[in-house]
């Protein structure tokens, strides 16, 4: 993500620009990937209408293809695109003034100063991730408006039909204007809770990409990339927030192992069998620095603790040398401040390596009645692993078969089926 200093309005760069069609198309595609959210957020401030803003931004990107071919790629593509989109918006607004006065508009604060383009992305993400919207709508709006995904792309990511996703997005936009969800960064009093809602959305994008709920691939790299981009954006916009630092660290430290999670044939490789030499050391270094910073805040945030756990794995020279007691201790802290059945399940797994499968199984047995875990495939997988380690093969097979009922990811299914066959 480029810094905000590259976005202010200003004279275009001189020099000899590359105006070949390919170079221009690449520049427009790169600007789409990096700057969509910035351009849309700044345009929505003017239009006070998300649909109109989207239309004008789309139009600006289309114009860029021809304009940049003629006069070169501007030095500040985001500023160029924003200016074009906002001019188009103002033009349309003047023309349709009479009609538009009847429509409900986005609630915005006083008009902005005229001579620079402020970064409005925080307003946009807090509007998209407003708790008055359903979580699935928050995720869809964020991917659509901040990341510039098409409705079809968002629909594919969340395994629903395109008309269903289109209806979901339309309904959410109608609620934003109809109910008066403001286009504003929340007051400091509400901020922590609202940031938490944004982090939940970004984490959901990440987890959906990290282990795809279904399909042929274990990882959906596009979604992981979007989640990482959103987390980096939040880090730049809310640099002092420990929750944001924790989430970015969590994503970096977890995704650092991406290359080794499947083998050359696309089969699942367990953490203990992964080639640690291939982990992304740069991401791990960045993540570790962020974890240290995030953990200074008391009480520790949810993602800071999850990141710290990921860091212990990343730093272990081998599976055998993993500090399981440290991991169990971190899960204890996580459960104290941010209790959840899934954290309890993960703690049970850590206990099974720190103290033995028998102890892990005892912890797992205490979780059988948790409704949140009733259809969670990792319970069966964890149980199957512990039972297999204890030599209780028949029971292990049943547990793995149960896990198979709850995942539609083909890579995970193949792995579980192989475990069943081995027993």
């Amino acid at each position: 993500m480029t810094g905000s200093d590259s976005r202010g309005a200003g004279p275009r760069a001189g020099g000899a620009p590359d105006r070949s069609a390919t170079a221009v198309a690449e520049a427009v595609a790169a600007a789409h990937r990096r700057e969509w959210g910035f351009v849309l957020a700044a345009t929505a401030r003017v239009t006070r209408d998300l649909d109109l803003a989207e239309e004008c931004v789309q139009d600006a990107y289309a114009k860029a293809l021809t304009a940049w071919a003629e006069s070169g790629v501007p030095e500040r593509p985001a500023a160029w695109l924003t200016t074009v989109a906002r001019n188009r918006a103002l033009d349309l607004l003047r023309r349709e003034a009479a009609l538009r006065s009847r429509l409900p508009l986005l609630v915005v604060d006083a008009p902005e100063p005229e001579h620079d383009i402020p970064d409005e992305r925080l307003r946009l993400i807090f509007t998209c991730c407003h708790p008055a919207l359903a979580l699935e709508a928050q995720v869809a709006l964020t991917l659509r408006l901040l990341c510039g995904l098409t409705t079809a792309e968002v629909a594919r990511a969340f395994l629903v039909s395109e008309p269903t996703m289109a209806a979901r997005i339309t309904r959410a936009k109608k609620k934003i204007t109809g109910a008066g969800i403001p286009y504003r960064v929340p007051d400091s009093e509400d901020l922590p809770q609202r940031v938490e809602a944004v982090l939940t959305v970004v984490d959901l994008v990440f987890t959906t990409g990290h282990t795809a709920p279904s399909g042929a691939d274990l990882v959906r790299a596009d979604l992981v990339g979007r989640a990482l981009g959103l987390a980096r954006m939040l880090r730049a916009l809310l640099p002092g927030d420990a929750g944001v630092a924790g989430l970015l660290a969590h994503i970096l430290l977890t995704d650092a192992r991406r290359a080794t999670r499947v083998d050359a044939r696309g089969r699942l490789v367990l953490l203990k069998d992964q080639d640690r030499g291939l982990w992304d050391r740069e991401a791990i270094a960045q993540g570790r620095a962020l974890v240290r910073e995030a953990l200074r805040r008391r009480p520790p945030t949810r993602f800071a603790l999850m990141a710290a756990i990921a860091a212990v794995h990343d730093e272990a020279p081998s599976w055998e040398e993993t500090d399981w007691r440290e991991i169990v201790g971190l899960y204890d802290v996580l459960l104290r401040y941010h209790p959840s059945p899934i954290a309890a399940l993960n703690r049970a797994v850590a206990v099974s390596f720190a103290e033995g499968a028998e102890a892990g199984l005892a912890e797992l047995d205490e979780l059988v009645l948790e409704p949140q875990l009733a259809s969670y495939g990792y319970v069966g997988a964890a149980r199957g692993d512990m039972l297999a380690r204890l030599g209780r093969r028949d029971e292990a097979r049943v547990a793995y078969e149960e896990a198979l009922l709850f995942t539609a990811n083909e890579v995970e299914r193949e792995f579980l089926a192989a475990r069943v066959a081995d027993l």
Binding site: A179, P182, R184
Partner: protein, 112 residues
């Protein structure tokens, strides 16, 4: 500014079986809410319980509320607020210890 209707839904049995002290406590809470938010409140009323309700559907008159729910509509406030965040901040203060509230923006019709 926009208008929002805050609908109060509560379990009626709590009031049906409540004593004088409970009614006094609830009344005090509403009075305090009214005083704390007097600039934002446009109107508000309490309703008699659902056994007094009469419904008409397709011209047919029947005894009872339109929809049977555990928590029934028992009253409302009409408030004015700059946006949903401001409306929710007020709605959170509405006393509803035996249930909760629903916040609905009012429809705005073209004045032309």
């Amino acid at each position: 500014m926009s208008k929002y209707l805050v609908l109060i839904y509560e379990d009626e049995t709590a009031y049906a079986t409540g004593d004088a002290a409970l009614f006094q406590r609830v009344m005090d809470a509403h009075n305090k809410f009214g005083a704390d938010n007097k600039d934002a409140i446009v109107g508000g009323e309490a309703l008699q319980p659902t056994p007094t309700a009469t419904s008409i559907r397709g011209g047919v008159v029947t005894d009872g509320a339109f929809a049977e729910t555990k928590e029934a509509l028992g009253g409302y406030y009409l408030i004015e607020a700059a946006d949903l965040d401001a409306a929710l901040a007020i709605a959170k203060q509405v006393p509803a210890e035996f249930g909760g509230v629903e916040v609905r923006p009012l429809m705005v019709f073209d004045q032309q």
